[in-house]
């Protein structure tokens, strides 16, 4: 009986979709609007200011999509990393025994999370742009790194003759070091003495690489040079990227700080006091008792925060950072006039990212939840 009801609901849903699709086909046909995803194979014809893969005006819309997706990804990853580091530091500071540190961290959290992100973004963008000089008066570090209103210009590493060799040496070093550390730790556990495994391991890790690097340089640097309006060569980190990455990191850090603080608070004080009574060092108490239990509380909301960062990257469009929203939901919609298809692609991409992040977080959460239960 229940199966019959489910089938009926499914059939009704199918009917709605079918009706909607038929309605849309008729409307689009009557309006003479092109339909379908054929435009993805056509040349896009516009430039994109940051592309991590080859792209120019003759590239296709599909390629433009790839560029835009990568730009969104890079931004999200940097913002997630930044906000996590800052957020954890702040969260711990919120429970510090130092009153000044505690007050500062509280002030930060209250300020940053109560000002709309878009305003913070504009603040950072124009705060970064305004004081920076034009390219000819760039601030420079040793004549190889330059900072100006067009961005941060860095030398670009390029693989040279010795690159393959260096890579091989690095792999050998890693294997050697891991094996040695493993063996030394075993022997230390057995005998209670012997050389520090970390020291020997690091030496083994670096030695082969150092040897190769002296023999044949694995990397040459493409140095930026001032020519005409701007620097040629090197890589440029766009000020738009810096602004949105900073704004997102600082903003989300405030939320992550609260999540971390709640996680720490969730570990009962009795456990810490008991550990102290047993004479454990405070570092050990944190590493073995507080952090593992706090993580169980921290991870699920932290995952939500990461998803939010992903969605908040769309604000980058407001300052002209070429993310998925700017390039596709902006330029491509207008140039192709196929709003329905383009918006579907954009929504589909964000949905896919978020489901992927969500799945990752859930997996991690299951693992730590199980191992400490």
């Amino acid at each position: 009986m229940a199966g019959g009801a489910q089938a009926a609901v499914l059939a009704a849903a199918g009917l709605v979709v079918w009706f909607a699709a038929r309605n849309a086909v008729m409307n689009l046909g009557r309006l003479g609007i092109n339909t379908g995803f054929g435009f993805l194979d056509r040349p896009a014809g516009f430039a994109i200011s940051q592309h991590l893969v080859d792209y120019d005006e003759s590239s296709t819309y599909l390629r433009a999509l790839e560029v835009a997706v990568l730009n969104t990804f890079v931004l999200a990853l940097v913002a997630i990393a930044g906000s996590t580091v800052i957020g954890f530091a702040l969260g711990i500071a919120r429970r510090s025994s130092n009153g000044l540190l505690r007050a500062l961290a509280t002030g930060y959290v209250e300020l940053l999370r109560n000002v709309p992100l878009l305003l913070q973004l504009f603040f950072w963008y124009f705060a970064i742009l305004r004081p920076l000089p034009p390219p000819r008066q760039s601030l420079t570090l040793l004549g190889v790194i330059f900072l100006n209103g067009r961005g941060l210009v860095l030398p670009r590493p390029e693989a040279a003759a010795g690159f393959g060799l260096a890579l091989a040496a690095l792999i050998i070093g890693v294997v050697l070091a891991l094996a040695t550390v493993f063996w030394l730790r075993l022997s230390r556990a057995r005998t209670g003495s012997g050389p520090s495994p970390w020291l020997v391991g690091s030496a083994l890790l670096i030695a082969p690489l150092l040897f190769v690097m002296i023999a044949a340089p694995p990397i040459v640097w493409d140095l930026p040079q001032l020519r005409g309006f701007n620097f040629v060569g090197g890589v440029t980190v766009l000020p738009e990227f810096v602004a949105i990455a900073v704004a997102l990191s600082l903003y989300s850090a405030a939320y992550i700080a609260e999540i971390v603080r709640a996680g720490i608070d969730a570990v009962s004080r009795g456990q810490v006091e008991a550990a102290r009574a047993l004479g454990l060092k405070s570092a050990t108490i944190n590493a073995k008792i507080v952090v593992p239990q706090a993580l169980r509380v921290i991870v699920p909301p932290l995952g939500n925060e990461y998803l939010r960062i992903f969605r908040n990257t769309t604000l980058a469009a407001a300052i002209g950072y070429p993310d998925l929203t700017l390039v596709f939901a902006g330029t491509a919609v207008n140039q192709t006039a196929q709003a329905v298809e383009v918006m579907l692609i954009v929504c589909g991409c964000y949905l896919a990212f978020n489901l992927a992040v969500s799945a990752g977080i859930n997996g991690y959460n299951r693992r730590i939840a199980r191992s400490y239960r």
């Binding site: 409307n27 689009l28 430039a47 067009r150 309006f229 300052i319 919609v333 207008n334 329905v340």
Partner: protein, 339 residues
């Protein structure tokens, strides 16, 4: 995969509905009792709020003229400002009856996008604004420059074409909001700011020190600016087209807002009488009153008057008529005969 996406997109469209089940825009407008126009976001001269908060300008006058022609009252309008990238979907889904904004008529927009262009009401071309201090005197010196532009315009494609044709490189920074483009240029993010020349002149008025900047002499594209209506409603397209043609014809015939009444009463010129609806009953051939052109002219004046009132040499914008002069004065404005 594409098929799946296509199916999904159709589903979305159907569910959220293109609100255009009826093609007769004229009936909708009459029933509603007001004309809804999509316009450019705040731009001096073309569409701006005056000191009483009323939105006025060159673009708005065409909306008012059409409202006068169709509803007999130029004030029965509702204005919806859109950033360029949002405007087309809003027209397509029926949120506005017409766009009287700053959009260029191109093949792609006219074919397969569900839109029809009415008539060219301003001939423009893309230019560049630079800082005087940069010493740049010509667009051909822009090799390697960083250029700020507004998004969702023909600008993005023209720049690509121009720089490739001249074998120059460039960097583009595009903004969704036109005012953000100006602010970024002003902050030194870009060497040049590009847009249609008239829009540069208008938006340039908001620069803190306009005198430190100048527009380079080169015009790198043709930008025929035209109002847009939905495709598939030929009657509405014709109504809009002939209302605007009437404003141009009025200038040719010397009919002004001030003398329209007198001309209608006393003129012996059959062309004038025909335009103002005294003879030949033209308007009723297309669902309008016979004096639709008279009402439009009475409401906003002829093309030349509109130009002079909002963007001409005596306004802060100070634009020359240039290509927008009548054909008999050496310009491109040429209305098909109203007969």
């Amino acid at each position: 995969m594409r098929k799946l996406l296509w199916g999904l997109s159709l589903a979305m469209l159907g569910l959220f509905g293109l609100a255009t089940t009826e093609a007769a825009t004229l009936d909708d407008v009459k029933q509603r009792g007001k004309l809804v126009c999509g316009i450019a976001p705040n731009i001096a001269g073309f569409a701006f709020a005056d000191d009483k908060g009323v939105v006025r300008g060159f673009d708005i006058e065409f909306c008012r003229a059409l409202a006068a022609a169709v509803l007999g009252d130029p004030d029965k309008i509702e204005l919806k400002p859109f950033q360029p990238r949002d405007a087309f979907p809003q027209l397509q889904n029926g949120a506005v009856d017409i766009i009287t904004g700053r959009f260029t008529w191109t093949f792609t927009r006219d074919n397969g996008a569900g839109m029809s262009f009415v008539m060219i009401y301003s001939y423009d071309g893309q230019g560049f604004m630079v800082r005087k201090a940069s010493g740049i005197k010509s667009a051909t010196e822009l090799n390697g420059a960083t250029i700020c532009i507004g998004q969702g315009t023909t600008t993005e494609l023209n720049i690509a074409d121009y720089f490739r044709a001249h074998k120059m490189t460039y960097k583009i920074v595009s903004f969704a909001e036109l005012d953000e483009t100006r602010r970024a240029y002003e902050s030194g993010r870009c060497d040049a700011w590009s847009n249609d020349r008239n829009s540069l002149a208008a938006r340039g008025l908001l620069l803190a020190k306009r005198e430190d900047h100048e527009i380079l002499p080169e015009t790198i594209s043709k930008e025929p600016i035209a109002p847009i209506v939905r495709k598939g409603d030929p009657q509405w397209l014709d109504i809009a087209r002939w209302t605007f043609n009437a404003l141009v014809t009025a200038e040719e015939l010397g009919i002004t807002q001030a003398n329209a009444d007198e001309q209608k009463e006393k003129s012996e010129n059959p062309e004038v009488k025909r335009l103002l609806g005294a003879i030949d009953n033209l308007g009723s051939k297309n669902g309008l009153s016979d004096d639709f052109a008279y009402k439009a002219i009475k409401a906003v004046g002829n093309y030349g008057e509109i130009f002079d009132r909002y963007i001409g040499p005596k306004t802060p914008l100070g634009l020359e008529r240039g290509l927008n002069r009548l054909w008999k004065d050496g310009g491109l404005l040429y209305s098909p005969p109203v007969r």
